[in-house]
Amino acid sequence: MIRFSAAAKRYPGGLEALRGVTLEVGDGEMVAVTGHSGAGKSTLLKLAAGIERASAGTVLVQGQNLAALGEAALAVLRRRVGFVFQDHKLLFDRNAFENVALPLRIAGFPPEEAARRVRAALDKVGLLAREKAMPVALSGGEQQRLCIARAIVNRPMILIADEPTGHLDAEYARSIMELFASFHQVGVTVLLSTHDEASAARLGCRRVALSAGLVAGAAP
């Protein structure tokens, strides 16, 4: 479960990305955060994943107040939250397999166990045949899938995705959204952001609209 209470984020330099958001995402729930670019969607997701810290208010993830965690504990929390980055954040000097294996290496998984999990994750996103491919050789949609594989390889209970269909054509976007729906169906809590109201509506999940750093509305 993720709970934001009057969570605010002011960046150094004065930009106020969030101005007091209160929102609860229940266990196993799927929530889409919508809004224009600059509405604070990315910041909200980064607070939930422990990538950024709130400058005011509290963020609770699975009962833990993130403000109370030290840097190392916050890093360990990030292992339990899968995050799909808007700009993928893939490493271009290593192949698909190694990119997906990175979180497991960091967590110190035994190599055989790690390889099994990496292949399972690649299989899940339909990239098993391309495990040796370098990211530059992958299409935009495939890179997005690779990023998703890396996010789920630790088998997190929470999956967060920042504009996962941002640069994709409609056909590809639909298949990515179906992928997230399938994770939701097996009990994973999914929190994703999109500026595309229509594709959010197709998901059939709760939608929360952000505007200028505040919750502007919710549906249904």
């Binding site: 990538i51 840097e71 190392a72 890093a75 360990v76 929390l77 990030r78 292992r79 995050f83 980055f85 954040k89 893939l90 490493l91 000097d93 990175l102 979180p103 290496r105 960091i106 967590a107 110190g108 035994p110 890396r150 630790n154």
Partner: protein
């Protein structure tokens, strides 16, 4: 515990791969570090060789009084009494000619030569330890004792030995100072090399942190990298120094005078070698630690 070991094994493997990924650059940097470490090691070897040779020399103020070959036991006794009566004398030791011969045969190559004599060519002697160190006073005593009956020669040859001892102390200090400077150089070189590594891996570090790496996780492979550089550099330095020692060993042997104990190059003991390797590894570790910590702070402040 298992996990801890695995994390360290992974980091160690990473460090080895990083060294192997740029074999020429790694080799060159290890050689640079190795030369820096080899310089004080070689200096220490030279000093130790000289030190071992001079360790037997007596540097306290003393005078040897040699009696003439025909001096009888009672002559020797009379001279001894005269020496002991002098207030500037701390101790007097009698060295009978038989004992002198035995010592000479035991410590030099002259055994064959000495046994070819049909009688002992050495005189009785007194080793006199002085309280006085003032050269004028010692000169006066020498002159007075040479006039004693049946005294053949009075020799005060400690002065050059004392001077040599001073040079040895000076040399030791020089080596220590040089070692300290070059140790600092090793730490700085490693810090610089690791800093370059950190900067070129900036993206990898940032992505690793995003997917759950702690600062310690990020640091670990770099620390092993620095440690390995120090370790390999120390091994290279010892090999260089050993090669040098072997190269000069023959010359040193040729320098050995016929009448002196054999000169030998004194290479570092196993314990000293271990200390060089451990010290260099620690310097590598310290340099890497400083570089990584500094760069990570810069990353997190957005620099």
């Amino acid at each position: 515990m298992r996990l801890w070991l695995r994390l360290h094994a992974l980091a160690f493997g990473d460090a080895l791969r990083r060294l192997a990924a740029q074999p020429v650059a790694s080799l060159l940097s290890i050689l640079v570090l190795g030369v820096a470490i080899a310089i004080p090691v070689v200096a220490a070897v030279v000093l130790e060789t000289v030190g071992a040779t001079t360790a037997g020399f007596d540097t306290d103020p003393h005078v040897n009084v040699f009696l003439s070959l025909d001096a009888s036991d009672s002559d020797a006794k009379r001279v001894g009494e005269a020496l002991r009566a002098e207030p500037g004398v701390a101790a007097v030791r009698f060295i009978p000619k038989a004992q002198a011969l035995a010592e000479l045969q035991a410590t030099t190559h002259l055994a064959d030569l000495l046994s070819s004599f049909d009688r002992n060519p050495l005189p009785d002697a007194y080793a006199v330890r002085l309280r006085a160190t003032d050269p004028a006073r010692i000169g006066a005593l020498k002159a007075a004792w040479s006039r004693l009956p049946k005294v053949d020669q009075v020799v005060a040859d400690f002065e050059w030995a004392e001077r040599l001892g001073r040079w040895a102390r000076f040399g030791r200090r020089l080596v220590l100072g040089m070692a300290a400077l070059l140790a600092a150089a090793v730490a700085f070189i490693v810090a610089h090399l690791i800093r370059l590594q950190v900067v070129t891996r900036r993206e990898e570090i940032q992505v690793s942190e995003l997917v759950g790496a702690t600062a310690a996780d990020v640091r670990r492979p770099f620390l092993y990298h620095g440690l390995l550089q120090g370790l390999l550099a120390a091994a290279a330095a010892l090999a260089l120094a050993a090669g040098f020692a072997a190269w000069i060993d023959a010359e040193v042997l040729a320098l050995t005078p016929q009448y002196a104990p054999e000169l030998k190059v004194a290479f570092l003991s196993p314990l000293e070698r271990l200390a060089v390797v451990a010290g260099a590894s620690l310097l590598g570790l310290a340099g890497a630690w400083a570089a990584v910590s500094r760069e990570l702070r810069r990353f997190s402040s957005g620099g």
